[in-house]
Symmetry: C2
Subunit: 489 residues, 2 copies
């Protein structure tokens, strides 16, 4: 067991270096340094990957004798990962890394020039490589399951279909109901200089009791969270002058990811159990802090005074006005700017298309048309600018298929966790009073301290004493938005 742990901890040091190289690339790296940085990242990433599928690791895993529940989890999760990736030939992985790196770069050009053809041939290769990888990884009925399992262990397309189909109907219905009520005024529709936005965001992190000895906030084009090492998690945000909500909720979102990463026990670090339970579970925490907590009335009640102090131009709005302002529901083109309600449709659209692609029911060249048709069906909006359509997100072009559903699963987990939490702690009072350490304490005990010992469905049941169910989310949305829109949804 000790040798096994040492081996994993060794790999982790290379992953830590890679994480810093990536963080720096997105924040402080001089602009001309990108080409060489990509080479360094590729070299160190390959080396870490080679170790993670080495015979040496395989032998250590097979000969380890676990003496505790934790050790058993290390071997179980480790073996599953090892055997899964061992089956994929190194050339396929390398080709995937190579092709998707090029494809993601071309995507930036394609998006800028609003021209899908630029990226089409490479996206075709990426889809083919994903299909090939699915074959190696193995699956029962649906090749998509092999890819989905990489991000959300134990989840299948069949289950997604079962959950997503009624959720789609529900969302379309709620959206129509909300639109009947009419528009809510948005106090945030104004320009606010980045310096004041930054001041507020930094205060916000202090208010949320973030630990500045282990975490830092910087600026990047696309906000992200990057766990660099033990006691070192970096988050970023962005300050858009005419969209002050953007930085606030990006900061809280990434803060949520960081809470998770910082609260996994140090002794799990680098081991197979030393990360969040899944991509969906990780997202459940960013969304919990951003939406369930950060867009709640108790939260805005607690920060209203400071908010008005920093942004006196909003003093004529009540706390309820501001709260409504951060919860406006509207049909929009861009996923990352979508509200909690319509976000569901953005994800389901992507899931349906990527599932069809992997199952040969859709070809790459037909993506733009298929996207626009589905978008029109779900949102009732026509897409004239492809950068607002299928070229908006990097995921597919960067090689990730099976990733998008985890965003929506995150919302569903978050609602179910919130339901269980409220039964045990006085959420509203704690949040009004800024006692976020108690909220975090509950989450740490139930979720963060477990790392990746359990698969998502097992963990959600342990945390909430219920099977995973989308009813909690439906209930949460119905209640919350009935109040936001003063209407019986």
């Amino acid at each position: 067991m000790d040798k096994l742990k040492e081996y994993y901890q060794k790999i982790a040091k290379y992953s830590s270096a890679s994480a810093l190289l990536y963080w720096d690339m997105q924040t402080y790296m001089p602009s001309a340094a990108g080409e060489y940085r990509a080479e360094v990242l590729s070299e160190i990433g390959s080396y870490a990957f080679i170790m993670s599928v080495s015979d040496e690791l395989g032998n250590l895993l097979k000969s380890a004798t676990p003496n505790s529940e934790i050790d058993e989890a290390i071997v179980r999760v480790g073996l599953k990962e090892y055997e899964k990736y061992k089956k994929v030939p190194a050339e396929v992985f390398e080709e995937m890394m190579r092709v998707s790196a090029i494809c993601e770069q071309l995507w930036q050009k394609a998006k800028k020039e609003r021209n899908f053809e630029i990226v089409e041939p490479y996206l075709e290769k990426v889809v083919e490589l994903n299909k090939e990888m699915a074959k190696y990884l193995g699956y029962d009925n649906d090749p998509y399951d092999a890819l989905l399992d990489r991000f959300e262990p134990g989840m299948t397309a069949e289950e997604l279909n079962r959950i997503f189909t009624p959720l789609k109907e529900f969302t379309i219905k709620v959206l129509k109901e909300i639109e009947k009520v009419g528009k809510v005024e948005d106090p945030f529709e104004r320009e606010i200089d980045p310096a004041r936005q930054e001041k507020f965001n930094r205060w916000l992190l202090t208010h949320l009791k973030y630990d500045s000895t282990k975490c830092r906030l910087d600026v990047s084009a696309h906000p992200f969270t990057n766990p660099i090492g033990i006691n070192d998690v970096r988050i970023t945000t962005r300050y858009v002058p005419n969209d002050p909500k953007n930085s606030i909720f990006s900061t809280i979102h990434e803060f949520g990811h960081a809470q998770y990463a910082l609260s996994i026990p140090d002794e799990f670090y680098g081991l197979p159990i030393g990360s969040s339970a899944s991509y969906g579970f990780d997202e459940s925490q960013s969304r919990f802090w951003e939406n369930v907590l950060g867009r709640s009335l108790p939260f805005w009640t607690g920060i209203y005074e400071k908010f008005i102090e920093v942004f006196p131009e909003m003093a004529n709005y009540s706390v309820e006005d501001i709260w409504r302002g951060v919860n406006i529901v509207r049909r929009s083109y861009i996923r990352t700017e979508a509200d909690e309600v319509t976000y569901t449709l953005h994800i389901i659209l992507r899931y349906e298309l990527e599932h069809a692609l992997i199952n040969d029911e859709l070809s790459v060249k037909d993506i733009p048309t298929a996207w626009n048709e589905l978008f029109s069906k779900y949102f009732g909006l026509k897409i004239d600018d492809i950068s607002l359509g299928c070229l908006q997100d990097p995921h597919w072009y960067g090689g990730s298929f099976g990733y998008f559903p985890t965003y929506l699963l995150g919302n569903l987990y978050a609602a179910q966790i919130y339901d269980a939490m409220k039964k045990e702690i006085d959420f509203d009072t704690l949040v009004v009073n800024g006692e976020f350490d108690k909220v975090r304490g509950w989450l740490t005990e139930k979720i963060y301290s477990k790392g990746r010992m359990y698969e998502p469905k097992e963990l959600i049941k342990k945390v909430t004493n219920s099977d995973f169910d989308s009813k909690y989310f439906i209930d949460y949305i119905t209640k919350k938005y009935s109040r936001v829109y003063s209407s019986n949804l």
Copy 2:
């Protein structure tokens, strides 16, 4: 040859990651992350070291067939390094890394508590390990030569003695002459808030025509330059409120190091010839930009207007007053704060002590007494606070013996280079007019573009058409300070 280059370029990628991990540790890393960061640095550093002494590299070096002067230099420099370090058992290196890491940490405590005994036993081990390493590295008469050669290839203690002894006499004499003239007023003896200092330093970099797409300036406790990768060199400075000269000359000093690193041809990157010619040559460039250029009257004539704009409180001083202010000579305890004249004595004192330590003529426990005696002899000052004496610098405690002389060699090279440069370009006019690209162009052609193809003595001869000689420095100091102090020195 191609395989050899590839192998070196692979090692360089791990060194690049290490460099970034180090830079981040000194600038932005959250404070609690230090312990794990040290582990990551050690793992990746060891891996790069193992590759650099591997049989694979040895075979590639021995079987390479160079087809050009550059290839020949790669193999020659590579083989010298390889054979040198191959002779040292890995355990000795690892022990040196381990012991000096602990010793350097204890040094910080010892310095803070002004207690040499805290660090003494570990410094003894460090000295013993250096002696052991010298044996493995090999030498003719003096074990110190083996250590010195690591930093300054081809230099020997015998030659240092020959150069340093008259230089010491000269410096003591000049210092006395200067003190006869009396004190010069220091316009910089005032508090200036870091924000204005930063503004001026950033302007200064622009004025010096630094390339912000390849370089960046940050803040750290001790200023340093760190080449991270191709097109990526980071420099740092520090803003001390009551010492505004500190940031200005730290910035120009590190800018000088960065110019060198950024101007070595990209195709040399990672290869044995892909760095500066030696530690002394590297320092010659930081000192050239900082002192020869940055403390010259033409330079201050060129920046005077901007300087007064940012620091209007100094407007009653003439450009000559300011220039004299940045060239004040005074006896002082701290090497890093010393002027161009007394700096010589600070280095010679350290060289004499470390040479005696390595040759068993001085024992570690007697360092404080020996330091204080020599300091009194050279500076005529008594040391009551050991943190201003032998505990001021980290070098010995961090394991570096044979390093200090390179600082003084840097000053000597710089003066000799300056003498040659003035014969070919109109230095004063270019500097007044801010045409630093022409100064850099000359240095790039003669020095930077050669990387480490030549040993220092060979390179200085190529650059200046003369053998290495300290007379240029003596001449430079005599002329400059005669003018600063309006006296015939």
